[in-house]
Amino acid sequence: MAAEDLQQLRELVEFLKANGIAEFDMERADLKVRLKFAGLQPPAAPAMDLSQLASAIAAQSAAAPAAATQAPVAVPATLPGATPVASAAAAAAEAGPEAGAHIVKSPIVGTFYDAPSPDSDSFVKVGDSVANGQVLCIVEAMKLMNEIEADAAGEIVKVYVKTGQPVEYGQPLFAIK
């Protein structure tokens, strides 16, 4: 392996360790990235949002394509949203401003959308006051748009997912205080 590629591989490995990523998998043509976080503890760095993480890795790998292809770290990983991430988010909720907050969890499997349509404003954002029963988001399943309502009243203190992200049953969506 060329010295330059080796250096980039080292940086990639450090990046993965710093963000508590236990498993990492990458395909090439479309750049699919899959991650699995280590254990149930939140990563050392503040829980990074997955799309930021994906762009960061994409930037890394664009600079190190040869390293990525040969990287022995490529291991099958879990879809984000399986146990470790959900627990990490819940654990992080204990620590930060979400401590003691009510977590709104997804009642169904599907794709999360934060707005009624691509060009609308989002239903809610951090800082908004919401009433019990107020529509917070949409989870799309089998082409049906399901409105997800708040099951508590209060202020939105955290949004755990990004629009377009797949979510599983029980996955934390919002923290309400």
């Binding site: 879809l79 169904i108 499997v109 599907g110 797949p166 029980g170």
Partner: protein
């Protein structure tokens, strides 16, 4: 070949399918309820998606949740395993509409063979011997009496929409028929919202013999021989064997050809099993078809060398049978399977909980299919099967001896299992002689009670 398959099941069969996919380089997606978060099928799949709370109806049987999971994971195909959604024609249709390949027969065929009296009519039309019975639904008691005269007592009345023993009555004389007809009909109406009944000849001491088939999507069908499944308790199989001591090579070939022709006629695809009853005279009659892979598929795998789950995947991907199973396999040796359930070996009460010790036997010709592990938890929400112990030997005697040895080394602590029950069965004279029928377990348990009293 599929790039990614979602396994719409849990437990040992989910792990079985995941393993076959892994061997073929196919990515796997597991779905799980909250009770199965730490399951082996979840741990060993490439991806896993939580689809609901513990109850099956809200998770594993929840069609929108399963389909949604397949969509967000980008799965090309779904393998439904056995039980759960595997024979649900509606689920197969939704898969088709969602452009996800359902690994099994077309929904129309599943529907046709799933309805008992339709299945009988279909097989009869294809010249498969069926148990003498009514041609469809019995209009009333008078029609039932006429039919019973023709096919001769004893007869059994069965619910058209039924299963699990409900809406069934055995009638031995014409005097008892009218009252029993009413009882069966009412029970069926209450249980299945459909009081319609049909009639079949009743065999007092039947043997349950079933044939394994594979069919590709190009009209080719192959029979892979039979399994003997007479060791049952309350219609639940406990021990299965291949081949059956009662099936001669001539019968195997003749019935095999008849089955192949009938399944070609109905346009069957993928794996399936045709169940028969054999009467005291060795006559064999069709009773029903299971349009999926079965729990006991392993014994057929051991004697034929054919990996049935891989065959299912390849068939669904469009491959031809001649490339999957080039020649009709020879039946080699004898295989026996014991279903290890999490239940008390004598009281049969379910025994969910945490397994503290789990030592599996191994060795030449010993196979264990299980998704449990030490420190694993058996949840109370699902069926009690935790492992299948399969032994293959040169003949039945050797297979039985291996099974006894393997059972003695299968150590499970923390929960009760049926291992002690199997050990007693394998020491039983009647079982060892192979002269059993579906009433075996009743007689065996009577003998055990007798021993208890001595």
């Amino acid at each position: 070949m599929f790039r990614k398959v979602l396994i719409a099941n849990r437990g040992e069969i989910a792990l079985r399918v995941i393993s076959a996919c892994k061997e073929m380089g196919i990515r796997t997606v597991a779905v799980y309820s909250e009770a199965d978060r730490n399951s082996l099928h979840v741990k060993f799949a490439d991806e896993a998606i939580c689809i609901g709370p513990p109850p099956s109806k809200d998770s594993y049987l929840n069609v929108p949740a399963v389909i949604s999971a397949a969509e967000i994971a980008g799965a090309d195909a779904v393998h439904p395993g056995y039980g759960l959604l595997s024979e649900n024609a509606n689920f197969a249709e939704v898969c088709r509409a969602s452009n996800i390949k359902f690994i099994g027969p077309p929904p129309e065929v599943t529907r046709m063979m799933g309805e008992k009296s339709t299945a009988r009519q279909t097989m009869k039309a294809a010249k498969v011997p069926i148990l003498p019975g009514s041609d469809g639904v019995l209009e009333n008691e008078e029609a039932a009496l006429v039919c019973a005269e023709k096919i001769r007592y004893p007869i059994i009345l069965k619910a058209v929409a039924g299963g699990g023993g409900r809406g069934m009555r055995i009638v031995r004389t014409k005097e008892e028929l009218p009252a029993l007809f009413q009882q069966a009909s009412t029970e069926a109406l209450n249980a299945f919202s459909n009081g319609a009944l049909y009639m079949e000849k009743f065999i007092e001491r039947p043997r349950h013999i079933e044939f394994q088939v594979l069919a590709d999507e190009h009209g080719n069908v192959m029979s892979l021989g039979e399994r003997e499944c007479s060791i049952q308790r309350r219609h639940q199989k406990l021990i299965e064997e291949a081949p059956s001591l009662q099936v001669t090579p001539k019968l195997r070939e003749k019935l095999g050809k008849t089955i192949e022709r009938s399944l070609r006629d109905i346009g069957y695809w993928n794996a399936g099993t045709i169940e028969f009853l054999m009467d005291e005279d060795g006559e064999i009659y069709f009773i029903e078809m299971n349009t999926r892979i079965q729990v006991e598929h392993c014994v057929t795998e051991m004697v034929t060398g054919v990996d049935l789950v891989k065959a299912q995947l390849r068939i669904a991907a469009g491959e031809r049978l001649k490339d999957i199973v080039p020649e009709v396999p020879e039946i080699r040796g004898h295989a026996i399977e014991c279903r290890i359930n999490a239940e008390h070996a004598e009281k049969f009460t379910p025994s969910p909980g945490k397994i503290t010790v789990y030592n599996l036997p191994g060795g030449n010709g010993v196979r264990v299919d299980t998704a449990q592990y030490a420190e694993g938890v058996v949840p109370q929400y699902y069926d009690s099967l935790i492992a299948k112990l399969i032994c293959h030997g040169a003949n039945r005697e050797e297979a039985m001896n291996k099974m006894q040895r393997a059972l003695s080394q299968f150590v499970v602590e923390g929960i009760h299992t049926s291992i002690p029950l199997h050990e007693k069965i394998f020491a039983d004279e009647e079982f060892r002689r192979g002269e059993f029928d579906t009433k075996f377990m009743e007689r065996f348990l009577e003998r055990q009670k007798g021993k208890g009293r001595d």
